[in-house]
Every structure is written in structure tokens, then in C-alpha cells.
Amino acid sequence: MKIVAVIPAYNEEKNIERVVRELRPHVSEVVLVDDGSSDATGERANRAGAWVLTHAINRGQGAALATGMKFAVDNLNADIIINYDADGQHSSEEIDAIVKPIMIGRADVVLGSRFLNNNSNVPFFRKIVLKAGIIFSRITSGLKITDTHNGFRAFTGEAAKKIRITQDRMAHASEILDEIGRNNLRYVEVPVTIRYTKESMEKGQSSLNSVRIVWEYFSGKLFK
């Protein structure tokens, strides 16, 4: 089984080497999509043993993910594709758990959920925003899941081919769920741990950005 991890990254030079090195023992290949970073993200990831695809200009996380997944399927013939965050929020030891439902043929898509166990120290306000996002995505996609905006996922190569990510920016998380529903893919959720560090909270999405993401989602839907 060829397992390829796809990491979208934007200005993550601080953590990226550690993240790539942590991942490599658990997967066959690591593909880093450098989404127009102005720092040394790409170079460092490459040095740490990752394939590096460079977006000449910043196109957003959804676009970067789509680029990496296309490359993993078309060029690396991946059997399983993993989505993984560049900021070190995920735990590489959980790769085996997230891949397992696909290995045993129980699912086409595996979604990480930080709410299935209580290991993640989710800040209070962030929790409220995420819960609202979950209700929103349940309505739009019809999928009954506990965590809709988790960047830790696994797909079979076939499933990855079917999923079309057209939302370049952050609304892709909801779009992936819609695509799972539309293509009738079998999905399961697996508990994962998200490490909220001071740094990741500063660099990552502001909770207030959720309003903007909802807008992007609808405008993308209406004017496809």
C-alpha cells in the first residue's frame, strides 16, 4: 500500500522540518504544497525528505490541498492519501489509526475528529465556533459527523479522484463533506488529538474568520 501524506503549507518554516520528519516513518511519501510562502518552507521540507510542489502565488489552503492530492494520485499512484496540517497540530502516531478503516476495507474516507475523545485542549470560544460549523455542515452536506473542520483526513486513491475541491480558500472543508455525500463514499470518523499551542492559535484561523468562510462557501456554491 502506497500511503502519501499531503501537507498544504504557507510560511511554516519553523515547524515544517520536524513535521515532515515525524511523518516519514509512517507513510511512503510526503508531498508538501508550498502555497506561495515568502519564507524557506519549501526548501526546508525538501531537505527533510518531502516532495515539494510550489504555488508561484498564494491560492489558499483548499487549492494547495487539491494540487497535492492531484499529484499524489496522478504522479505517485497513491493508494491512500492523507491530509495533514503543516503547523504540527496533528500527531503522526495517529496515522496508523486514521488509515486502518481503509486498510480493512471499511471506508473510502476517514475523517479525524477532535470531539470523539477529550484529548484535545480545544479553547472554549473555538469550541463554540466549531460546534456551529458542525451544525452548518450537517445541514449542507447531510453527513452526521462530530467534527467538520478537521484537517486530518485519509482517502483511498479512488475517493481522492472523485472529490473535486473548487473552493480555493478555507471553505474547502465543507466542500469535501459535500463531495463525500454527493459521491456516496463510505466514511468513518476516528478520534484524533489536536494540539493547540499558543503559536498555532496565532498563526491559524481566527475564530471570527468563520463568518467569512460561510460567505465563501455560499458564493462558491451559487456561482460555480
Binding site: 531537505r47 516532495w51 515539494v52 510542489l53 508561484a56 491560492r59 487549492a63 494540487t67 492531484k70 456561482f223
Partner: protein, 115 residues
């Protein structure tokens, strides 16, 4: 009135620009016709405001000026909509180009010097 002279002068100026764009092939024939007629209509309305009264009573709107404003707003919204769609298309094209280039120029992993 001065405002009429200014508006007519401006409209003539825009028509001149439209003709230039069309000559330089920056504007397609349908859009050339649309914009020329549009600005000619503006001139007619400015010079003979009473023409709008005819349209107004025909449409059941109180005053001719109101008709002009309603029509302008509808046209503006439509143009904004068109531009919006166009930009989405352009964004998609840029992403596709960026993606193609990224994949064509994929960098092979370097041997990790720590191993």
C-alpha cells in the same frame, strides 16, 4: 442648463472611447452596440427629459427621473454580477495555471542529511 451640457459632453466622450476600444478590438460587436446605444439614450434623456415621462407613464412609475434611476440601478447590479462571475472564472484559471506549474516543476525529495 450647465448640467445638461456637462452630461452630454461626458456621454460624447464615452462614446468616443467606446468606438476606440471597438476599433482596437478590445470590445466585441454586441458590447459595442450595447454601450453606444446606452450612451445615446443617456444623451436623449439629458437633452429631452420629457422622453422619460412617456416611459414613466407607460411603466406606471410616477416621474421620469425615477425611471432613469431605477433603470440605472438595475443595469449597475447586472454589471456587478457579470464582473463577479468573470472574476470567479479568472480566479479559477489562475489556480489551474498555478497548479499545473507546481506539478510540472515538482521537486524530488532530497536525501535527508540527518539519516
Amino acid at each position: 442648463m450647465l448640467i445638461q451640457i456637462l452630461l452630454v459632453a461626458f456621454s460624447v466622450f464615452v462614446i468616443w472611447r467606446v468606438v476606440l476600444r471597438f476599433k482596437n478590438k478590445e470590445l466585441s460587436l454586441p458590447w459595442f452596440i450595447f454601450w453606444t446605444l446606452f450612451w445615446i439614450a443617456v444623451i436623449v434623456v439629458v437633452v429631452l427629459p420629457q422622453t422619460t415621462e412617456v416611459v414613466a407613464s407607460w411603466l406606471g412609475v410616477g416621474r421620469g427621473v425615477d425611471v432613469a434611476i431605477y433603470v440605472s440601478i438595475v443595469i449597475l447590479f447586472y454589471l456587478v454580477f457579470r464582473i463577479f462571475i468573470k472574476i470567479q472564472g479568472i480566479e479559477k484559471n489562475i489556480t489551474d495555471l498555478t497548479r499545473g506549474k507546481a506539478i510540472r516543476e515538482a521537486e524530488v525529495p532530497k536525501k535527508d542529511e540527518r539519516e
